[in-house]
């Protein structure tokens, strides 16, 4: 059973391999299938790329013969006139035994500027949810284009009937209300605005009647046993009658027949307790067939019918232009549903006309195709996330769409596994850690990342790591089957091992002693990048005194530059290595020389001067101006691989914000902003370097800081006054550099003794000590317990310190020294 379900869902779209083509108007266009997976019972997701346009194409193919899937129209927050993000609808609509899988957008909807501001957010034309109309099918986009049969195939109504069969065609629609005397009156609209001489039907999709003219609301409820649907007559009983200008609230199963003018005249004959019949009829315009629809969406155009592209691809600009696309197609027997979304305005997809969309769907097996709302609405959602890149750059809430469900019983037991990879080509020697999908007996994807799995394969294909999680490709080109098991569930995938050049992920890296770097060796096939276990390469170092490599892990030995080369089989790659080893866990980032300034014109005399010991001062004369700021600029390359960048700022002038411009190596400039500063108090900014480089990005070093911009809060300032902003600290913190309990040796130009301190004082001596050297002693918690400036070798009185271990930081013009002392 499970195998039938999974394999039965495979579509032709999934057959497009690396060199496959799709026939677009007689021209073979290359298509690369990038993803192909079963996402639910009989539901296949495919992501393709057509590089010649280029186009990113996303499809969902639903085998409607599968008893465990279901397709429903969803409407934004269950209200005609409200839009909703599909990712939210995914959560809202998922219930036990009826779990959401994915969706596409549907109808165009009413937006401002269309002259129907009272109906904003309502779907254009017909929308039916589980047999109930939210809005009536109408002729809003019908322009009687073309002649003869073309006029019968203009608009696309997308329907799913009671037999779970798709219909996509142009239709006639009629709704009527008939009283006990067999008198009837046409229902003009559903859930819109009641106008003169109309009867409009309202239900829970709006929850109230709406009109600006006088009339009457006749509230009815279906007689027990009656159900809503197209081409049905539903007997209802009048429960209350409310004259007026609309606004009658509906509750529960209540419907309202709301009439004005002749419509009101018809309804005014009714009394509470009377029975009326409400009928809706749908008939295809070309063949006069009668779909028993349960779900309905409406597109603007029927762009393919009976396997042939219609003139609608050309006679409306919306269709002929290059644009994003959402389309809905069906197979000839109506038992396969095709949903397609094509991106526009992305770097990898330029969009297309509806004809191109039709050709893609035709190759997949579509017979009839409807063009749906596009632009920023063209969106496909799977498991709560969009899979495409919408033209708005973010998700756009939509009025309605098709939501795919599984109605299989909830069951977490895995019976089948699949690799979440398609057309798997792996470079020789490369390491591949797959994503394994887990399905239950009904074909429901219950685990998108199976954690407990074991790989196996024939030795000629490659090897598997001891834990069974990773596959190492064979040294030579070959093909074979990679198997996976998890409990009783199994799966497999065909693997092609290709001979491919290797490369270093980074052409150059920084190294130190504290941050060992597992060298990132990669190879790329298509859009997939594969990694190599660096331990499997043979490494050589031009200057082995600069760095070392053990097990593929690079560590700096001493400051310098060298080049390393890794080889595996016939392939090799090289990388430059610069080793910068900080001598202290904290060093100044800059000496505050060479900074320039910028400011609004009213602020003058801005200068940056060093204040010694790694501190600096920004001084300026303030005058009020629009959005005042003062900025200090210098491209400061931060030494080595700091873990934290610290700025301690003390401002005399009120600041509303500080902006710091910095960039990781090879990346674009980014701007970090800090608020909440208090005047005349210290404000510490501690920036984890990973915030700038991102996680595990050795290539992001060195970090560069480009400017610090101070936004001035004008309240509390005095025009014409000179102000200072002190940068008391601009330092780099290296976590891996430990302050040892060692007296600083003579060759480091500074000596600290005795250690332990037993008599309440210790001596600092050495050439490094110069006028203005700053001694700070911190306790283990970082509290500054002693601060003293010395100009020459000195005795430091530590008599006030209780016995413990302390950190002594000495800032001198020749460098910074950090040591621990033990006071006894």
């Amino acid at each position: 059973m499970k195998k039938v379900i999974l394999i039965g869902a495979l579509s032709l779209l999934c057959g497009a391999g690396a060199n496959a083509t799709i026939n677009i108007a007689g021209v073979a266009k290359q298509v690369d299938t990038l993803e192909c997976r079963s996402v639910g019972p009989g539901v296949q997701y495919v992501r393709m790329h057509m590089p010649e346009y280029p186009l990113d194409v996303y499809t969902l193919t639903i085998d409607l013969n599968n008893p465990y899937n279901d397709v429903n129209t969803f409407i934004g927050k269950d209200h005609a006139g409200t839009t909703e993000a599909m990712t939210q609808a995914y959560t809202r609509l998922s219930t036990p035994g009826h779990r959401t899988i994915g969706s596409v957008n549907g109808n165009f909807w009413i937006v401002s500027g269309q002259g129907m501001d009272d109906l904003l957010g309502q779907p254009h034309s017909g929308c039916m949810v589980n047999g109930e109309f939210a809005t009536e099918p109408n002729n809003w986009n019908r322009a009687n284009r073309g002649e003869g049969i073309e006029r019968l195939q203009e608009i696309a109504f997308v329907m799913l009937d009671e037999e779970k069969k798709m219909w996509i065609d142009d239709i006639y629609f009629e709704a009527r209300v008939t009283n006990a005397a067999n008198e009837s009156f046409a229902i003009a609209e559903i859930n819109r605005i009641r106008n003169e001489n109309e009867i409009v039907l309202y239900n829970h999709f709006t929850g109230e009647t709406e009109s600006y003219i006088d009339g009457v609301d006749v509230i009815v409820e279906p007689v027990e046993g009656e159900t809503w649907g197209s081409n049905k007559e539903v007997k209802c009983v009048v429960t209350r009658i409310v004259p007026g200008t609309g606004g009658t609230q509906l509750e529960g199963a209540e419907y309202a027949l709301s009439g004005a003018g002749t419509g009101a005249d018809f309804l005014n004959k009714l009394q509470v307790g009377d029975q009326v019949t409400i009928s809706t009829s749908i008939k295809t315009r070309t063949d006069s067939l009668v779909p028993m629809a349960r779900q309905m969406l409406t597109g603007n155009a029927l762009v393919m019918r009976e396997g042939q592209l219609t003139p609608r691809n050309e006679n409306e600009t919306y269709n002929s232009q290059t644009y994003s696309r959402t389309g809905i197609g069906m197979s000839q027997d109506g038992k396969t549903l095709y949903l397609i979304v094509i991106d526009y305005k992305s770097s990898t997809s330029v969009g297309c006309n509806t004809a191109t969309m039709c050709y893609i769907l035709k190759q997949a097996g579509a017979w009839n195709v409807a063009n749906m709302d596009a632009g920023g609405s063209a969106q496909m959602m799977l498991r709560g996330s969009l899979v495409n890149n919408p033209a708005d750059g973010k998700e756009r809430p939509v009025s309605n769409g098709f939501m795919i469900f599984t109605n299989a019983p909830d069951d977490e037991n895995l019976t089948h596994l699949a690799f979440d990879h398609y057309n798997l080509e792996i470079p020789a020697y490369a390491c591949f850690e797959p994503t394994i999908l887990g399905y239950n007996q009904y074909g429901v994807l219950v685990d998108t990342q199976v954690a407990d799995y074991t790989l196996s394969c024939d030795p000629s294909l490659g090897t598997v790591s001891d834990d069974g999680k990773r596959f190492y490709a064979a040294p030579q080109a070959t093909t074979g089957i990679l198997h996976v098991t998890s409990g009783n569930a199994t799966g497999e995938i065909k693997v092609t091992v290709k001979a491919t050049e290797i490369a270093m992920k980074n052409s150059a890296v920084l190294a130190d002693k504290a941050h060992p770097y597992p060298i990132e060796v990669i190879s790329t096939i298509g859009e997939n990048t594969y990694t190599y276990d660096p331990a499997s390469l043979t490494w050589s170092i031009d200057d082995p005194t600069v760095c070392q490599i053990e097990g593929g892990v690079l560590t700096g030995l001493q400051n310098g530059q060298t080049r390393i080369t890794g080889s595996i089989g016939d392939f090799s790659g090289s990388m430059d290595v610069t080793v910068e080893i900080p001598q202290s866990p904290r060093i100044p980032a800059d000496d505050f020389t060479g900074w320039t300034t910028k400011a609004i014109s009213a602020i003058t005399d801005a200068t940056v001067t060093p204040a010694g010991n790694g501190a600096g001062t920004l001084a300026f004369t303030y005058k009020s101006g629009r959005q005042p700021y003062v900025e200090m600029d210098k491209s400061v390359t931060l030494y080595s691989i700091p873990d934290t960048i610290r700025l301690l700022i003390h401002s005399e002038i009120p600041l509303s914000k500080i902006q710091i411009a910095c960039k990781a190596n090879g990346d674009k400039e980014q701007y970090l902003e800090y608020e909440g500063l208090e005047t005349n108090s210290d404000y510490l900014i501690a920036i984890p370097s990973v915030q700038i480089t991102g996680e595990n990005n050795r290539g992001g070093f060195p970090i560069t800081l480009n400017y610090i911009k101070f936004y001035i809060n004008t309240s509390g300032t005095t025009s014409g006054q000179a102000y200072k902003i002190d940068l008391k600290e601009f330092s780099l913190v290296y976590n891996g550099v430990v302050s040892g309990i060692e007296a600083i040796a003579g060759d480091r130009n500074l000596t600290l003794y005795p250690n332990p301190v037993t008599d309440g004082s210790f001596c600092l001596e050495g050439e490094a000590i110069a006028p203005g050297s700053l001694v700070r002693i911190y306790d283990r918690n970082g509290a500054l317990v002693l601060e003293q400036t010395i100009d020459r070798p000195s005795t430091i009185d530590a008599g006030s310190l209780t016995p413990d271990v302390y950190i002594v930081a000495v800032q001198t013009p020749h460098g910074n020294f950090v040591n621990k002392i033990v006071v006894q």
Binding site: P585, N735, G736, D779, N781, G782, P803
Partner: protein, 300 residues
Amino acid sequence: MKMKLTIALLACAATLSAQNVSVTRHTEVTPEGGAAYFPVLSPDGSKMAYTSSDYTGLKVLDFTTGNSQVVSFSAGAGFDPVFSTDGSAIYYRQQSTVGGQKLRSLSEYNLDQKSERQLIAPTRDLKRPAAIAGGMAVFAGNKLFKSVGARINSLYVYSVAQEGTIVVCDGKTSRVLRPYGNQVRSYLWTTLSPDGTKIATYAIGKGVVVLDLDGKVLAELGDFEAPAWYGNDFVAAARTTDDGHQYTASQIVLLDRHNRQVHNLTAPDEMGMNPSAAAGKIVYNTPEGKLFMLELNITK
């Protein structure tokens, strides 16, 4: 006493880079009354001395009764106290400053009788006393003092800061050790193993080392703080890291003097420091003033 928290499962996380050391129990032993620091275990592990963050005052918690008793309220009293070998008394130093000079006196407090006597009046350079059979020994100035009843041949070691030496006293004579010659300017946390055959110390620039009584280096164990003997084959210590400003991590480790293996007993972010070991237990404090006890199982 409040047994606030038993972290039995921390044993999983805190052990264990080798198969022969495991934490069987990890318990908070912070006494009632607030933060406590610098714990010291009695030889049988039944009592624990502790103090405040600046060593003011000294109290002793009896684990069997859960009661604490005050030994002293004096400044510096909590710095490096020493239990007598039978645990019935505690030796501690009080600190005072006279004429700008830091002086320390030595007192003995009898925990059973709750009585106190001063053994040495305030003086300069009073070393940490050593508990020896029948009493204690301490070096003050250039003299070795012993309490009445202390056995004369008991060993005692201490380090001399400015001269970079370790002194071994046997009750009659003193021997000066310079294990690293001029390479090491000073030795810290120098203690004798319980069996009196080895010395553990922190050689500045070298880290924790184990020596024999002739000054021969038996093992260099790495850069750890506050080494304390755990039996005769292991040394408990703290592995700390800092950012040049404050401690960023500190964990209690057990160092195997034979194979130099390092067994992590606590997590680095727990900030365990100042370990004291006795009777198969280790106590330590955190910066917030919480005290914890580790009980280990070591199999060979």
